[in-house]
Subunit: 308 residues, 2 copies
């Protein structure tokens, strides 16, 4: 059989060329996604499968700004590799609006689309202020049942209740990924409860929550917003009775779910010892549609055949 | 000099191993960024440098929800590779809030932080409704001067006026990247002017804008919102007189800038022949801070030492 003769120096040159090409290809690949260090670290961890999956539960309902709001949220899911989106529509069927939004964001494989209609006796009536009856109870509970039935209980995962109109920083999800099994992570929330920031107060060595700065109903067991915490999935398996309820006073939903799962002293403080604000309780203005209503009186509409 | 003898079959095996390692490294790199097809296509184009840079000009001002709003916007910049953010603060100096936000989003190299204070005679007074005096005029004009002075006129680029509280889909920027030199791209905007959607009306073969469906002041030369269009940068170089003005009626800023640059028949329809809604004119509710005000009367604050 014929042979090729090569010199050691040629072998060395070949190896060097090989390594250079490898590095170029690697760098090129990496460059497809820009982002700050904490995000690059998440991508690296995601590749070696050491990030816990975060299940974000978002109750939603049809209204003019629904698609705009969900579109803004979808960017977080596109950026954060370990986020799985459970969208629960307050409706008798899932909608094509949500389905196509997930599809066009490339999130079909990382999402679950559910639906359940709030019973009419609990629906807001015409002039009820929107806090009289609890919102999202039915939808969050359906998502919890789905999780309890479908999640691999052996794998560490996190559950987060994510409203469709709040504002979230990508860093919040890096923080949330640090929640330990059996724990509930906690952090500050901006623009809520009449304050610039509602936040947990920590002990001297920043290891335990010793109180809260809430101004509104500070006597609640957990005087915090739904956006202030996320929960290790194993707690929902250990405590199957943990669900949301219609039978609680205004502002007590957070305390209702948490009382089953944890105590104040076991909360895990995150976000730079609860000093970084990474989520804001923003509210979107109700859309003014006076011209649209005038059109409709003439049997017309601006969005004929167009999904807004 | 000593030599190594290898057989052709060994050479073949070496080459195969080399290619396999290359493909693995390449694939691994790619996997760091998930996303739908149109976004992957943008990343590929960005690598070979065929995407025009999009300069997004965002006037902003200090208020409780400022950081929340800018954080939401920053996700678009993190996702879209060819976006460059020009943030212009209505203030006498640039702020550390904006600087640290850009830093923590990994956007320092893809952004420009400017500031200019709106002259007091044009500032909104206590009870003025916010449409009486034009907003963002000074800030947008400063950004245009900066662009005219700093941009490489030989390279195709796009200019987009991006408010800090609207909602934008990632796909809008893929569409915007299709704007040709010398043209102004146009598309529908959701939830604006009292309608579900304001949109251009096209001729039979969808190549030209022949009208608009606006209900509010349809007699304007361009009865559209600031979010409805983006402009090829070369037009700003060819027409140095194109700037915003305080001297125009309410709702005429868009017409004022566009009248220098284009005519209706030269507009380039985008977004699936102006049938896809990829931007929404959402508005965020003013934050209620009653408890914060009560604290301040006692000389305290909830955000002492904390940036919200």
């Amino acid at each position: 059989m014929s042979e090729v003769r090569i010199r050691p120096r040629q072998v060395l040159i070949l190896i060097i060329v090989f390594i250079i090409v490898l590095m170029m290809v690697h760098r090129n690949g990496k460059r497809t996604c820009q982002g700050p260090e904490y995000l690059q670290a998440m991508y690296a961890q995601d590749q070696i499968n050491t990030l816990p999956k975060i299940y974000a539960i978002t109750p939603t309902y049809a209204r003019p700004a629904q698609k705009a709001e969900l579109t803004r949220l979808s960017h977080l899911f596109m950026l954060v590799p370990n986020l799985h989106w459970i969208i629960v529509e307050d409706a008798n069927t899932t909608s094509s609006l949500v389905r196509s939004l997930l599809d066009r964001s490339g999130l079909v494989d990382r999402s679950t689309q559910l639906n359940i209609k709030t019973p009419p006796e609990f629906k807001l009536q015409g002039k009820d202020p929107n806090w009289i009856k609890p919102r999202g109870v039915e939808q969050r509970n359906l998502a919890l049942s789905w999780l309890r039935a479908h999640v691999d209980v052996e794998r560490h995962a996190i559950v987060f209740f994510m409203d469709d109109d709040n504002s979230y920083a990508v860093e919040l999800f890096a923080e949330m990924s640090k929640i330990k099994p059996g724990r509930v992570g906690i952090w500050p929330v901006g623009l809520v409860g009449g304050l610039m920031v509602e936040r947990p107060l920590l002990n001297a060595d920043n290891t335990q929550v010793v109180g809260f700065n809430a101004a509104w109903r500070p006597e609640r067991p957990f005087p915090i917003d739904m956006a202030a915490f996320a929960i290790s999935m194993d707690l929902f398996i250990s405590f199957p009775q943990a669900i949301f309820s219609y039978e609680v006073q205004r502002g007590y939903q957070e305390s209702e779910i948490l009382r089953h799962l944890t105590t104040r002293d076991k909360l895990q403080p995150l976000a730079n010892n609860c000093r970084d604000v990474l989520v804001w309780h923003t509210r979107t203005e109700k859309t003014k549609l006076n011209a649209e209503e005038a059109l409709q009186r003439k049997g017309q509409r601006s969005d004929d055949g167009i999904e807004v």
